[in-house]
């Protein structure tokens, strides 16, 4: 074949088509990784089908499911085509009446807890920027951060905007509200503390803490201390009132999600390189920041761990759930899930609820390590 004239153009055109297919297939589409939340014996979760679903915690019987209305998206060359469904990363939170969560399409929803009916959405029409973090409900308001750099405060009853405040860079962190104070991290590497008695404004900003990496994790607050992880591979313990650093702990990778605490044991997890043998689960003395134990999973750990009794449960991208001794970090058991687990888990009534990347929701008996029930939240269409 001669690479001249017509042949040359045909060749280039073919290469361009290959390019288009390649780039479209090489990037990761937004699918969501919403995890389960337990409220009064019911398990709520967002699904990769763009739905919010409710199941009976005891046996997994479906109670309801609601498809979130999706604003129009542009037509794509992507392998899967345009996304016709909402991508949900945030975990449902509830005030008893409503389930709240946001979507990658930039819409925040309130659904009725008993029927799943849509109570309201914000904005009422159109779309905003991606909402990745979960919400916090406090005093009749619901707070969340958005990729447009704003913190929003909505009326939990009707979804009307009460306040919004611009931090600047994207906010994927879940806010924590305690004692009229709101704490939230941002892509700018800062953790912000607001006095909610004064509202969300410049004057209500109490202090900021700066790390050397983005903050996507939500802050954990215990014993007048705020524990916050950063992409600079450090976990920080800050004084709740001043934001002063009490101690810092260096991990092997990004701290994407919040740590958990029981008594004085803090358990934090890292995103890591699969190929490297780094440890990425740490048991840390919450008072001193000293490492008590460490454990390595095969894959990254994005989701927060959970603690139940003397058991630490860690979900990994390596398709496994690890059960560890809380005081020593030694492995009790490993449960294969056949799919990565990126979602936060929840513990209720002796069960840990796990939602895998491929849409399998499982209830696992923590004591026995057995699956009590499992349902597919993303059934394959026939």
């Amino acid at each position: 074949m001669k690479f001249t004239g017509k042949n040359q153009y045909i060749f280039i055109t073919i290469m361009l088509i290959i390019l288009v297919v390649s780039v479209s297939c090489q990037t990761a589409p937004a699918r969501g990784w919403s995890g389960p939340a337990a409220v009064d014996g019911t398990i709520y979760t967002g699904t990769i089908a763009g739905k919010v679903a409710a199941y009976k915690g005891s046996n997994g019987d479906p109670e309801w499911q609601t498809t979130l209305p999706t604003p129009a998206t542009s037509i794509g060359f992507g392998c899967g085509g345009p996304a016709p469904k909402a991508a949900i990363y945030s975990h449902p939170v509830s005030d008893g009446k409503s389930i709240f969560l946001g979507t990658y399409e930039g819409v925040f929803y309130a659904l009725d807890t008993t029927s799943g009916a849509l109570r309201w959405q914000y904005p009422a029409t159109g779309r905003g920027k991606a909402i990745i973090g979960s919400a916090a409900v406090y005093n009749g308001n619901v707070y969340f951060g958005s990729s447009d750099g704003y913190i929003y405060s909505l009326n939990a009853n009707n979804g009307l905007l009460r306040e919004k405040y611009l931090l600047g860079k994207k906010i994927w962190s879940t806010p924590t509200v305690v004692d009229d104070r709101l704490y939230i991290g941002s892509f700018d590497g800062k953790l912000y503390a607001f006095d909610l008695k004064k509202g969300l404004k410049e004057e209500s900003l109490l202090w900021t803490f700066s790390s050397n990496g983005a903050i996507t994790a939500g802050p954990l607050i215990a014993n007048d201390t705020i524990y916050i992880g950063s992409f600079d591979s450090h976990l920080y313990a800050l004084d709740k009132n001043s934001g002063r650093v009490k101690w810092s702990f260096k991990g092997s990778g990004w701290f994407w999600e919040a740590p958990v605490i029981k008594d004085n044991l803090l358990v934090a997890v890292n995103v890591k390189k699969d190929s490297e043998p780094d440890k990425n689960v740490y048991g840390i003395n919450a008072l001193t920041g000293q490492k008590i134990w460490e454990f390595g999973t095969q894959g990254s750990v994005r989701a927060s761990p959970v603690i139940s009794g003397n058991t630490v449960i860690v979900a990994s991208e390596d398709n496994n759930i690890y059960f560890l001794q809380a005081d020593t970090g030694s492995q009790i058991r490993l449960i294969p899930m056949n799919s990565p687990v990126l979602s936060n888990m929840t513990v209720d009534a002796g069960f840990v609820y796990v939602h895998t990347r491929e849409g399998l929701l499982s209830a696992i008996d923590i004591e026995k390590g057995t699956r009590v029930w499992e349902v597919s939240t993303y059934p394959k269409e026939k």
């Binding site: 001249t4 055109t13 780039v23 990761a28 589409p29 937004a30 590497g189 990778g253």
Partner: protein, 274 residues
Amino acid sequence: MADLWNVLIFQPILNLSIILYSILFNNFGLAIIALTIIIRVITYPLTIKQIKASKSMATVQPRMQELQKKYARDKQKLSGETMKLYKEAGINPVGCIVPMLVQFPVWIALYQAILRALAATPEDLLALFPRLYSSPLIHSMVPLNEKFLWLNLTEPDRLMILPVLVGGSMWLQQKMVTVPTTDPRQQSTNRMMLMMMPLMFAAFTLQFASGLAVYWTISNVIGIVIQYLVTGWGGLFKKKSPAPPVGSPHSTTKAVPYEPPPSGKKRKSRRPVK
């Protein structure tokens, strides 16, 4: 294979773009422009080779058409004679394609780097970590700021300015490199490609992250400058086709035997005709 791609192409481009971002005032648009210049400098020898190959191709066009006419019914003979002609003229037919081929992986890697480094989706950001070099500077930079002028670099340009810039600059460059020909079929192909390529790229720009379109625009502009310095405006301001091939029914010129350039002698680049 995937590891080779990541280690040799994607990771160097990704990490270099993040380092450039940190140097260039945390502006990823500027980092893409700097990266484009670096890539064009690295591929400069190949670009020159391509331009010279195209230029040589143009010089043998009359002789080519003679051969096409002479061996119109004997494709095998035509193919052999064509290769012989290329050999005599010192032309490597693949020379026109190689620089283009080299750029494809760069485009793909850059596209991935843009989406991942700018955290277009949480999955992209999560997949970014294993691809970053272990430098605190790099880790402290991600995710990068996606704003550049009026653009969100992870999204297509809603104002439609970039599709016009990409299509326009590509048309200009294409017009400059198009080899003039008197062959009606080739003329028709040239005309079609002159319109199709810019339109295709403009259409891609409507769909892809505008960061990639910034790369295409800057790369085209650099290409136009290099082309101008080596061959002048080329086919851009030539309204008439070159004289029909000698010996053709439309020719008024007497046929003269073709003389291949002496082997080993370098042909000088022609400056623009003024």
